[in-house]
């Protein structure tokens, strides 16, 4: 959690210093959700994220160095500089990716869950008990893929967990302005859509990592037992604007202060000190090591080489025959200039 916060705050600093560009959506304030769910998962479980994906990647053990280098647009980045802030993928860590359009990641995570069931039942692989966790926001709960996938997850009883990080705001659209109230309520409760699709729906305080973890434990166990999906609505808040380009003019000071007072980090610190899990000194050492890790990530990213032009045409096709046949009869990828990125490919 602390790494997530430090990393994101460093991103803001680097963005304003002109080290990274584009749309950068920070996760500060929501750490308890990522940590509460993902730190519970096994290395071979899948997660699927959105454009606000840096901290999900960190929680899944993707090295901070490689994420920062990706943000700096360097070839040492986790996606060789070809993805960027909103497209963090790590096959090694079963991070299925960050998806920049609302809702498009949900069916991808569902596909991973389908693959698990397929491997178990068709390929008779008894080790296939992984779960796939989809993260997305309140704004996404009004898009078709959400409902399509709730239905299919339930229909096929897939080991898929839907985690809605309800931070109340879809850019400038306040949640109750975008979503009709659930039946019998004055406000919309997303978790109540779970039972409508044949799965448990759970509401949890997304600012409290221990509560999130408890709820996630139940959902993961249920999915691993083959009992199907769960919908979790985590009530949370982002401390910054939608992205670093957002002037954040609509959210009221009182609302921000309300959630600032529930900041998940001081809560956790107090808990570990009160219970004696860590001493003041151990905590300070831990924090120092996290800060060092983030500084190291920046140094690594800064010093890393930029992608060479030859990278341009790599990775368009898994099989480069996809570039087709040149007038001389050779496949285009065999042409001189292809590996330097200067060949004509259309």
């Amino acid at each position: 959690m602390f790494l997530g916060r430090e990393f994101e705050e460093k991103c803001a600093e680097m963005y304003y210093r002109g080290k990274m560009f584009g749309f950068v959506h920070l996760y500060s304030g929501q750490e308890a959700v990522s940590t509460g769910v993902i730190r519970l998962l096994r290395a071979d479980d899948y997660i699927c994220s959105t454009y606000r994906d840096h901290v999900h990647a960190l929680s899944k053990n993707v090295p901070a160095r490689e994420i920062m280098a990706e943000l700096f647009g360097k070839k040492t980045g986790i996606c060789r500089g070809q993805g960027g802030s909103m497209h963090m993928f790590s096959k090694k860590h079963n991070l299925l990716g960050g998806y920049a359009f609302i809702g498009e990641g949900i069916p991808i995570g569902l596909g991973a869950a389908f693959q698990v069931r397929y491997r178990r039942e068709v390929l008779h692989d008894e080790s296939a008990d992984q779960v796939a966790v989809n993260f997305f926001g309140d704004g996404t709960c009004n898009v078709g893929q959400f409902y399509e996938c709730l239905n299919m997850a339930s229909l096929y009883k897939l080991p898929c967990i839907f985690v809605v990080e309800n931070n109340k705001w879809a850019i400038g659209m306040n949640h109750p302005r975008a979503t009709g109230p659930s039946y019998g309520d004055d406000d919309p409760f997303i978790y109540k859509k779970g039972p409508a699709f044949g799965m448990p729906g759970v509401l949890v305080d997304g600012m409290d990592v221990r509560k999130v973890r408890e709820v996630a434990q139940e959902a993961v166990a249920r999915a691993r037992r083959g009992e199907g999906p769960t919908l979790i609505e985590a009530e949370t808040y982002r401390f910054r604007g939608h992205s670093l380009a957002d002037p954040d003019e609509l959210r009221l000071k009182e609302e921000k202060e309300h959630y600032q007072a529930r900041d998940p980090l001081p809560q956790l610190k107090k808990y570990v000190l009160d219970t004696g899990i860590l001493s003041e000194q151990q905590l300070a050492e831990l924090e120092a090591s996290v800060r060092d890790e983030v500084e190291d990530a920046v140094k690594f990213a800064d010093e890393s080489p930029k992608p060479e032009k030859g990278q341009l045409l790599e990775n368009v096709f898994a099989d480069p025959k996809g570039f087709g046949i040149a007038p001389d009869g050779r496949y285009r990828y065999e042409l001189p200039g292809f590996s330097s990125g200067t060949a004509a490919v259309s």
């Binding site: 993928f89 990716g97 991973a112 068709v122 078709g144 893929q145 009869g329």
Partner: protein, 371 residues
């Protein structure tokens, strides 16, 4: 994943030796101007195109347990054009997955499954329905091998019936090639004969690239033979008829429209070369440029829309790279840029007819060249 497979040698194929089995003589059935064509029934082991496609799916599923098919009514119903008829009995409901009607959802699910180790065939009950899945096709199938820096592969075949059928109305008579052709990272393949339908689909299933595979509603009952174990290169065009007056480039059902015209043109003393593009993206520039250099004239015949269509791209490439060889400007015969009407006459006026091909050859070549 490479399995042993009779893949024709590229270099010999590039020299124009790759030909579909003999499928002539063509004759029209019913409405002469636009009817589906049938081959003479004399040849051995004749089968219909849907049977050939079904064989391809069956063989690949049998050979590789990670191959599966998903889509609306592909399981118990057997597919809207019978391509997966009865396969669910052999492979079960998970491998022949009947999905709810939610194109974006099941397209994404197929892509997610492909990213994590399966080889997924995704059927659009009608290709036009896949417009609903455009986001997943473009942003995920097309892009994520690249955006992930090469980490994830998306071995999917997105296939189904498309094109202008018989008075199906505008929404079911779409020409989708133009929509899909500019998506980076996907290959577009259009089958046209029984032989190439099976051999191309087998290759598409084995490919690590996302393939959008066009079948045509009016060709499912075309008859022909298949070649056992044959996998056809996805990037390679087919020389349908060698000739020297003009190069006619076509694909899918337009191959038959062109060949109807060619019957007349032959009688009139013309000698056109006919090439079936097969690969709509990328174009086989070896076969195309060899032919253009020989005939110096090009007519493109497509069912696609004229604006932003396959012919538009192909014409540009030919003008850019083969301009010096041309004796006449490139002619494009495309569908009209209008929604496809229901009424027979209006529908016929929307798509290219053999008479237009004959007229275009007359215009480009002039008087027949004496043999």
């Amino acid at each position: 994943m490479q399995r042993s497979c009779f893949l024709i040698n590229l270099h010999s194929a590039a020299r124009g030796q790759l030909r579909a089995p003999a499928q002539s003589p063509w004759r029209t059935a019913g409405r002469a101007a636009r009817g589906a064509l049938h081959v003479a029934a004399a040849e051995k082991k004749q089968k219909l195109m849907w049977e050939a496609l079904r064989e391809a799916v069956d063989e690949e599923m049998e050979a590789d347990p990670t191959v599966c098919l998903m889509g609306e009514d592909v399981g118990h119903y057997g597919g809207s054009y019978k391509v997966s008829y009865d396969l669910h009995k052999k492979y079960g409901d998970l491998r022949l997955l009947d999905t709810p009607i939610c194109e974006n959802g099941f397209m994404g699910m197929g892509i997610g499954a492909a990213m994590t180790g399966l080889r997924v065939i995704i059927e659009g009950m009608n290709m036009g329905f896949l417009l609903l899945a455009y986001n997943q096709i473009s942003n995920n199938a097309g892009m994520l091998h690249y955006t992930s820096g090469g980490q994830y592969k998306v071995p999917v075949v997105i296939r189904g019936p498309g094109g202008v059928g018989r008075q199906l109305g505008a929404e079911h008579s779409q020409r989708l090639e133009s929509y899909f052709q500019s998506i980076p990272g996907v290959q577009l393949v259009a089958c046209s004969t029984v032989a190439n339908a099976k051999a191309l689909l087998k290759s598409a299933i084995r490919s690590d690239n996302p393939i959008i595979f066009f079948e045509h509603v009016l060709l499912y009952n075309v008859k022909g033979e298949t070649i056992d174990g044959y996998c056809q290169p996805l990037e390679k065009a087919e020389l349908v008829r060698a000739g020297r007056d003009v190069t006619i480039l076509c694909y899918s059902r337009m191959r038959y429209v062109v060949m109807q015209a060619v019957q007349q043109l032959e009688k009139q003393g013309f000698d056109p070369e006919v090439i079936d593009l097969i690969s709509l993206k990328p174009f086989d520039m070896k076969t195309i440029s060899d032919s253009v250099k020989k005939t110096k004239n090009v007519i493109i015949v497509e069912e696609c829309m004229k604006t932003g269509g396959i012919g538009a791209s192909l014409s540009s490439v030919i003008n850019e790279s083969l301009f010096d060889y041309l004796d006449h400007q490139v002619i494009r015969l495309s569908s009209q840029d209008v929604p496809t009407a229901y009424a027979f006459e209006l529908e016929a006026a929307t798509i290219v007819q053999p008479e237009q091909v004959i007229e275009a050859v007359h215009k480009v070549v002039g008087a027949p060249v004496p043999a």
